[in-house]
Amino acid sequence: MTGPLYRADPPTMRLAVEAEGLTLLYHRPSGMTHVLGPPAPELLTALAEGPADAAEIVRRLRQHHDLQDDAGIEAVVAARLDELEAAGLVSRA
């Protein structure tokens, strides 16, 4: 399937500090700070390879992680991408 393509700024545009399973993230283009919980940082890492749709992002996640549960996985990823888009960390390519 092909959904909308998402893209993220290159990782050099972000500063990240991990603490207690959360990621404190400073986004240079916006000057904004976000606190990210899983799987938001992993989605940004997956998009570092280049723009992708939700299905491709899931494929990239599987390369590096065991995913807890396959049912509804794309729906969760899509919901997190919406959040990241609203925060300005991800945009439609």
Partner: protein, 288 residues
């Protein structure tokens, strides 16, 4: 303006102007021994002025103005001029400071290391700092803590402590009368009396301290202690800072540096003596 005063508090210089002589005379008394703004150039201007021209004489009321102002600030009675000046200075700091990360917190220092306390107003951070400041610690500040953006050190901002209601009696038993300002009755914040910090705190106001412990105190609860992780401390301190967001990357680096390098604890306490004991115990065990 007709009446004015130049005042240095820690690394920040103020010029305070007033339409009336009273507030300036009161400030001169309270801030005896403080230096003028460095180079005679003030970082911030505060104006105490009538909000309508006739308000200089008829039922005088002070509008708080200056470099930075908020249209929603409520005017104060002329008799509360010291409080108006304090609020005017606070407002400049909260809206205008960029040289340091500003935390709405109190801090005290011993052996070069600093204890930072932050919490909502009423949590007791100011009273605790004032008490510790009378009992062997150096008061760095009762309202604002300035975090150095490059080195992470804490710069003192030892303005006069603003004591409210019950805290006034508490401190009157600890500090000599000549360090107190007049009692201000029925201000919007209740009864207020200002306390000039000990001379040491003023003489060493240019000397920063290294942070060692962050506390989130809460007054009026059963004694309890809970370690606070770096992520939670980070989020709580962003909400205690008026300029975190506007400092951008420098603010992020300074604040993540502060919370990852220092332990943080939430403490609940039923009374002030209990709190002081708790603080001293935590401090003694810091390196254990």
């Amino acid at each position: 303006m007709r009446h004015g005063l130049s005042l240095g508090v820690g690394p920040v210089g103020f010029r305070i102007g007033s339409a009336w002589p009273g507030p300036i005379a009161a400030l001169r008394g309270l801030y005896a021994g403080y230096p003028e703004a460095e180079d005679g150039i003030a970082d911030f201007t505060v104006r105490l002025e009538p909000n309508r021209p006739w308000r200089r004489w008829i039922r005088p009321s002070i509008a708080i103005g200056g470099d930075h102002r908020l249209p929603e600030a409520a005017p104060l009675a002329l008799a509360h001029g010291l409080l108006a000046a304090e609020m005017g200075m606070n407002l400049q700091m909260a809206l205008g400071l960029r040289r340091y990360l500003l935390l709405h917190a109190s801090a005290v220092e011993r052996d070069g290391r600093a204890l930072v306390m932050t919490g909502a107003s009423g949590a007791g951070k100011s009273t605790l700092a004032a008490l510790l400041g009378e009992r062997g610690w150096r008061l760095l500040g009762d309202e604002f803590v300035l975090v150095d953006l490059a080195g992470g050190g804490l710069h003192p901002f030892p303005r006069a402590v603003s004591l409210k209601n019950a805290a006034i009696t508490l401190l009157e038993a600890e500090a000599p009368p000549e360090r107190f300002g007049p009692v201000l009755e029925e201000t919007p914040k209740g009864r207020i009396r200002h306390l000039r910090p000990r001379a040491e705190a003023i003489h060493r106001m240019a000397e920063p301290a290294v942070p060692a412990l962050i506390l989130f105190p809460r007054y009026g609860y059963d004694k309890a202690l809970r370690p606070v992780g770096a992520a939670e401390a980070f989020v709580r301190l962003t909400q205690a800072s008026t300029n975190y967001v506007s400092l951008g990357e420098a603010g992020f680096r300074a604040l993540t540096g502060l919370v990852t390098a220092n332990p943080a604890c939430a403490i609940d306490y039923p009374d002030t003596d209990g709190a002081i004991d708790l603080v001293e115990t935590l401090w003694a065990n810091l390196d254990a």
